[in-house]
């Protein structure tokens, strides 16, 4: 078989897997339940801001929708990455993956098909959230600044990176249980470290001169330094902050790095699947 026809066949297979997974996701109820929960959490945060503005009279901040949107999109990204983990690991555990690989499916088309299905759903959800934020903007009379659209663009890349991590974890894991455990530990620890670091740095020291949480702050600070280069959540926060500062070079760097890491994890998933094999 020539290389061109092989690639063509791989693309066809990837499209078939993509369509199948996409249909399963969009015609199932879970994605809507999850997106409703995400947007509800976002609205609660916005409601909190609006209540403050109502009582205080004013609130200076770069973008009222920035923080709620980040929460919404992080929850969505985590869910989609997790569903990729479960879908791939379950197909391996049930033997469905082995069955597929007896046919025209190979590791490249399988990984790309699975990944692109989740990414498409993610893109559609971003559009859905945009409509929701437009509705909120109209109801509350809050302007959507240009920076919001830039943040959406960035979240597309960081979300793509997060989903690729999920695909990678599932391709190298033995079972659904281990894949779930590894992925959730990874995500929970990353978010926990980031949240703890933010929380600790905001603790006002009891004394002006002694800081009882100095060691913890520094320890988490060092971990955070590492995460800043690896975590998609850190990329999102850092990229948004730098964009709001007008540092578009840093913003583009984050976009570029997210893309590079995303590609790295997809390639690693393809290689990982080949090494790990399709059997349980």
């Amino acid at each position: 078989m020539s290389d061109t026809s092989k690639i063509y066949k791989q693309i066809q297979t990837a499209i078939t897997i993509h369509k199948r997974d996409f249909r399963i996701t969009v015609f199932g109820p879970i994605i809507y339940i999850m997106s409703t929960i995400s947007i509800t959490i976002g609205i609660v945060i916005i409601r909190n801001y609006l209540s403050y503005i109502e009582s205080n009279g004013l609130y200076p901040m770069p973008d009222l929708f920035s923080f709620p949107y980040r929460w919404v999109i992080i929850l969505t990204g985590v869910y989609l990455a997790f569903s990729a983990v479960v879908a791939i690991a379950r197909e391996r555990e049930s033997g469905a993956m082995e069955l597929l690989f007896y046919g025209p499916v190979d590791n490249v088309s399988y990984v790309i098909g699975k990944y692109s299905a989740q990414l498409t759903v993610y893109c559609l959800l971003i559009i859905l959230y945009l409509i929701c934020f437009f509705i909120i903007s109209n109801i509350a009379g809050v302007q959507i600044p240009a920076s919001f659209f830039m943040m959406m663009l960035l979240s597309l890349f960081t979300g793509a990176y997060l989903i690729s991590v999920g695909v990678f974890v599932s391709t190298i894991s033995k079972s659904v249980r281990s894949a779930t455990l590894v992925f959730l530990t990874l995500i929970a620890s990353t978010l926990l470290i980031q949240a703890s670091q933010a929380w600790l740095s905001n603790i006002a020291p009891e004394s002006d001169y002694y800081n009882p949480v100095l060691l913890l702050q520094q320890l988490l600070g060092w971990v955070q330094v590492v995460l800043t280069w690896l975590s998609p959540f850190s990329y999102l926060n850092y990229g948004v902050n730098e964009m709001l500062r007008g540092n578009m070079v840093a913003f583009l760097r984050v976009v570029g790095l997210s893309f590079v890491f995303c590609m790295t994890f997809i390639v690693s998933s393809i290689i990982g699947l080949k090494i790990r094999g399709v059997r349980q």
């Binding site: 015609f27 809507y32 509800t40 009279g57 609130y59 509705i135 109801i139 809050v142």
Partner: protein, 498 residues
């Protein structure tokens, strides 16, 4: 699973390794050998050490700090004169503030020699200590600081001493005149010559204006004005040897951004204003509200660098952020119809245009430009305001324009604040505001958007979350319906076949 456990173990070992580093970091905030540990020594034990005394410019004034041997990096602002003074002094650990203190009263020896500055290992500058004096002709925090070096330092210090003497003489004369005036007034009142309040006010002696002109003594130090960069410094004594503990890193930095911040004073609670630092930040406000925007000039610095410029012994940050630093207030221009006593008649600004330190160097006054729905509205003038407390026990106040306050008898008071007044009406759309000079140029970094937020109930907001639910119902319903139709077709086909 085993691999997962192995990964956790590996992570634990990694953290244990990291913990060792963290201890090292924490130790840096104290000192690097055992004799310096606060728990092991007499808390007031003093020892002779080489230190760098530094007069570091922080964008507003000169901050006097010292760097004990435990601090390995000196931070300075770029392109401004900073003074580094190599000294031998007594230092001691002060547990109350968790830092080393210097006893300059007991020992304050100037060290002769030269300060060497290296960039990437190459010697770029050698400077000897010289006399210097730092003065604030308009008063500390009121105007620009001036540094005089060498012979000029002695001369300027002499001028300051003369000015101080003259002021003391004026004050003495004023008290003398006041005594005489009171005696004379008492006599006139007793003899019935005083008939009105004006008789008293006209003849009252004038108190001399406060003496704001401020100066340090003449000290010796090394003046440095360097471009931003990471340098190494060391002190070489007259014998050509490097002085112990004098080798340090020198970080010279500049602001990353400059702009105009605002203190936003809501009319209904003028004592609890909010600050907005970030240029292009949104001001989310309630409708039917009056705001007073008091501009100030600001610069954004690396937080780690700026904090250590002002407090060299502060712990190091692992994650350094950016920090806006408030500088001088925007003062009413000389052409204003109101001028407060003691205020310099200038308006300082920073931004994309930075021709001089004082706006009055160019004679430009600024108004606030308002843009509503892309239409330029009438500009708002910078005005002085007075706050009048309501009489009686009930709390309450009103904010008046200064001229109105004057007309209502508040003669003995200076205005409480100067600001641009924005009235946010219910019908108002979002506003873009910025400072525009009378030459038509917008002041860089002064723009803000005032976003008038609508009063809305929670129920309305949560309507948005119905969208995914509705979409879900449609999609899942369609799927079920199409499956049902498909099954029915299959069933009818199988019946037909049978």
């Amino acid at each position: 699973m085993r691999k997962f456990i192995a990964a956790i173990l590996l992570l634990s070992f990694g953290l244990m390794g990291m913990d060792t580093n963290v201890h090292t970091v924490a130790a840096e905030t104290h000192d690097d050998d055992k004799r310096d540990l606060p728990g092991l020594v007499d808390k007031t034990e003093k020892r002779e050490e080489f230190v760098y005394g530094v007069n570091a410019y922080n964008g507003t004034l000169y901050q006097g700090v010292f760097h004990p041997p435990s601090v390995d990096t000196v931070y300075l602002l770029a392109d401004t004169i900073n003074i580094i003074s190599p000294r031998k002094t007594l230092i001691y650990y002060w547990a109350v503030t968790n830092e080393y203190k210097a006893d300059f009263d007991s020992m304050n020896e100037d060290l002769p020699g030269t300060l060497e500055i290296r960039l990437n290992g190459n010697l770029v500058l050698t400077v000897e200590p010289t006399d210097y004096v730092i003065q604030y002709p308009e008063g500390i925090t009121q105007g620009a600081a001036e540094v005089y070096l060498g012979g000029a330092a002695q001369r300027k210090y002499g001028e300051w001493e003369e000015a101080l003497k003259a002021y003391r003489l004026d004050v003495s004369e004023y008290y003398e005149a006041s005594r005489n005036w009171r005696t004379e007034l008492t006599d006139r009142v007793q003899s019935g010559e005083v008939t009105s309040e004006d008789d008293v006010l006209v003849s009252q002696p004038m108190r001399p204006a406060d003496f704001l002109y401020s100066s340090t003594k003449v000290f010796r130090g090394v003046p440095l004005k360097l471009p931003s960069g990471q340098y190494d410094i060391q002190m070489r004594n007259d014998e050509g040897k490097i002085v112990a503990d004098s080798v340090k890193k020198l970080v010279v930095f500049q602001s990353d951004r400059v702009g105009v911040g605002y203190t936003v004073i809501p009319e209904d609670k003028w004592t609890t204003p909010e600050q907005t630092y970030n240029p292009e930040e949104m001001l989310y406000v309630r409708s039917n509200n009056t705001l007073y925007l008091e501009p100030f000039f600001e610069s954004e610095y690396n937080e780690q660098y700026f904090t250590h410029l002002e407090a060299p012994q502060a712990p190091n940050f692992v994650n350094s952020d950016w920090k806006w630093v408030k500088e001088e207030n925007f003062k009413i221009s000389g052409s204003s119809r109101w001028r407060r006593s003691g205020d310099a008649a200038d308006v300082t600004f920073i931004g994309e245009r930075r021709p001089g330190r004082h706006i009055n160097d160019e004679g430009i006054a600024y108004d606030m430009q308002i843009i509503e729905r892309s239409m330029i509205q009438d500009s708002i003038e910078f005005e002085d305001y007075m706050v009048r407390q309501n009489p009686g026990k009930a709390l309450g106040y009103e904010i008046l324009e200064a001229m109105e306050g004057l007309s209502q008898g508040m003669r003995d008071r200076a205005p409480d604040f100067s600001a641009f007044q924005i009235i946010v009406r219910r019908s108002l759309q979002d506003l873009d505001v910025n400072l525009q000079g009378d030459d038509g140029v917008i002041l860089g970094g002064s723009g803000r958007t005032v976003d008038v937020v609508r009063r809305t109930g929670s129920t309305n907001l949560f309507l948005a979350s119905i969208l995914p639910v509705a979409l879900g119902i449609v999609m899942v319903g369609y799927r079920r319906y199409s499956l049902k139709v498909h099954r029915e077709k299959l069933a009818s086909a199988s019946i037909e076949n049978s």
